[in-house]
Amino acid sequence: MLAFEATWSLMTPEIVLGALAMLVFTIDFMTGIHEKKPFIGRLSIFSLLVTAVLVLVMNPQGGQIGDTFLVDPFAMVFKLIILVGVALVIMMSMNYLDRNEDIYQGEYYSILLFTALGAMIMVSSADLITLFIGLEIVSISSYALAGFKKHNIDSTEASIKYIVLGGTASAFILFGMSYLYGLTGTTSLYEIGAAMPELFADYTVMIMISLLFMLGGFGFKVSMVPFHMWAPDVYYGAPTPVTAFLATVSKLAAFGIIIRVFTLGFESIYAEWAFIVATIAAITMIVGNFIALTQQDVKRLMAYSGIAQAGYILVPIATVLNNFSITVIIFYSVAYIMMTLGAFSIITLVSEQSGRKTGMDTFAGLYQRSPYMAVAMAIFLLSLAGLPFTAGFIGKANIFLLAINGNMLWLAIIMIVTSIISFYYYFGVIKQMFMAEPKPNAEEIKVPGGIQAVVTVTLAGTVLLGILPNLLLDLFTGFNWMI
């Protein structure tokens, strides 16, 4: 197992992205720190797209680098999601950054590129160490991003909360990993997975503690109950595009590793943890949706909504672990990233135009102020709520199908009931946009190009996948996700 013999070409996208990120970082240094740097933003987007193309070109054949770095359809699709997601986040950030002078634009872009890199490594890793490194790249970058408006009280407070709780979560993950390593003597997920049945018989308690610690730590990242506490505050305090990033890329990447670790490492004791995940999924859906009901701030609302959405994504994991459930999860992830990013870009737009407020009432009469944005937002929210002819509906429907097919009727019922409860708050926003009159001093909304582009892309994706889901489903169904 000499690493030199490995097919390093599999890692080309990561290497190229790393290099490009360095390049962006360097250019930023050379061009002065306080400037507006739209070209760096464009360069970053370009880098991400180049990487995405490289992923498409280099990765389809699959393979691995010494049990440590895996390239399979699962990793590939997740990487594409991550890259496109980060690109969209950057796109929506560009105008935001121009309006917020206290943000150093170059750093912002390069850090986002690094998070993309970290997330890519995360979803590709088949080794605890690699995985941990990827995770920490994402995490530490996220801490910094959350506090990027360093003169803003909310932003710094969000950041410190995030880092303290996130650090603790990392410690839990590591603690769990240390047991796993100690009991197997290896950090390779494949070997751990192979040893698992025997190991579980011998060291039930330690394995379960390790498993649950890791689940808790990863659960922190995906904001599942009861490890969701940070989310509303951090989402609320962080700059809105960063919130979008946390709600989408960071969360989905964490889902990626949950699936990876639990599939490779713990599949043989699926019965031992599936019901725990099911319980957590149920609680997550209930708590997320219930608290969201009473929220009057859109960003906090989206935070709770994001918690609830995490619960939905957990349902397939709790039901069955196979290609099919991964297909369902990935389809929902695609839908989720579309609708969430679309929604957040409009939230960014609206809150920037309402003096950085994010109360529900800032959306009052949006339909009169900008019909396109209002309609788009409505469609994103409908999609999040799971109403027909949107990607979110198909995604949710697939989850139902899976859950019922997997004899998880009770979970499906909780899911559908909480989904319907969620109508209340999603339609609450819609009500503001369409039924309330605009505030007297509300100005006409000018839509910057970046946001227009993000909204258009995500809207197209949301609607297209809602009407023709087979575009993706047929493709996904053909994949053998994990080699």
Binding site: T327, V328, L387, I404, I416, F423, F434, M435
Partner: protein, 510 residues
Amino acid sequence: MMGNILLWLIVVPLVGALLILTIPREYTNVIRSLAGLTAAVALVLSLVLWGMFDRGAAGMQFYEQLEWFTLGFMQVNFEIGADGLSVPLIALTTIVTLFSIVASFTIEHRVKEFYVWTLVLLTGMLGVFVALDMFLFFLFFELTLIPMFFLIGIWGGKMREYASFKFLIYTGLGSGIMFITFIVIYVQAALVSFPDPMSFSIVELTEAYTEGAAAGAVGGAMKGGMFLALFTAFAIKLPVFPFHTWLPNAHVEAPTAASMILAGVLLKMGGYGLIRVGFGIMPDQAARFATLIAVLGVINIIYGALLALVQTDLKALVAYSSISHMGIVLLGIASITEAGMQGAIFQLVSHGFISALLFFMVGAIYSRTKTRTISEMGGLSHSVPVLAGFMLAAAMASLGLPGMSGFVSELMAFIGIFGAPAEILPQAVTLGVIAVVGIIFTAAYLLWAMQRTTFGPPKEKYAGLVDAKPMEYVPMVGLLAFTILIGVYPFILSDVINTTVIDLVSKIGG
């Protein structure tokens, strides 16, 4: 494909809605005419469908099946078709919608959106009635929620937000239960038929459950649960006691046109679903729970009527009368006879016209008197004789006066319930008698309401009211004409329905 009239029916309103979107909002008259035109085209199409429909043939006509998407072994198709159950309801939908569009020409507030939503709603409703894939059915079923939410929420009365959210969540919950049940039904059948692929097709599932593989393989308890869940889901829409409480709120707050559509068509989707899916797929369970359904039907009739009797708001009264009348549908279905089934479908159609007319009249009167409180009205026959006359006609239709459509449906339902086979419905006669007594209450609340509104000494404050305007004659005369047409010569309707009904009921035997 291009020739399928059902497809055109779904597409036309959508195209109309898109066209309206392109018109600047200031051109309200253009928007109104375009909306009316779209609905008229849909109406013409539905009448063409009515004409083309082969009365003698059982099974689906104008059938179309396109692959939509697959998920694992699950196949979801775009599958549409029509039979004697859906054709009348399609016609009802287009008629009521057209009239409600005409009725809302008086709306001045956000005209463009109003018609866009109405036309989207029309698409959804027509979609429900033509969809033969359960997935598609659910999609359209759910689609109707959104426009109605807006119609109530934007153009509604004082409590519109409460009402619109209640409507949304409550009936949304019903759709949710329905969806889960659909999937359970599907999965059960698919597991049995495995490895043969199975689609969500209602036709295919009907076959599977009635004579195919799933018929014997799926357990009785399971099937019973599925049927009850399905029943609950549709009961919320219909609505059936005790799931009815969203309806009065929604009706009282909704604008006239929305009330017309809500009572005229949306409730019918519940009855339609119950017959198409509940009865169609699990006729044995329908027979098993016939007593339950009949009892609920009777409760609906009596309870709705008694509540209507004590309402102080005219619109609430009409809303409760809807609840009461939907009991007839349940009763007809529960009898599991051809007459009863015929009666149930007749009632769906007939109540569609009558309730739309009633709501229109209430709206027209409200727009003049500015009150819906019954005690504040009176003497309207003097101030607005034509409106009062139509109101009276509508009330008569509603209380089941022969010569109008309501009577035929009640008669059929009663023939059905009294003739119900004893092994299915042992208490048929008792239930039937109680239900028939309910129609006395119906007469009581309607007549009492008429006595207090249109009759009585003329009131000073209503002296200067303008009587019916030309535009108002269109829905009034139109809806009344259909009511009378069906009442006088029900053959035109029964002819279309009959073959399908025979087919449906015959499944009980086999």
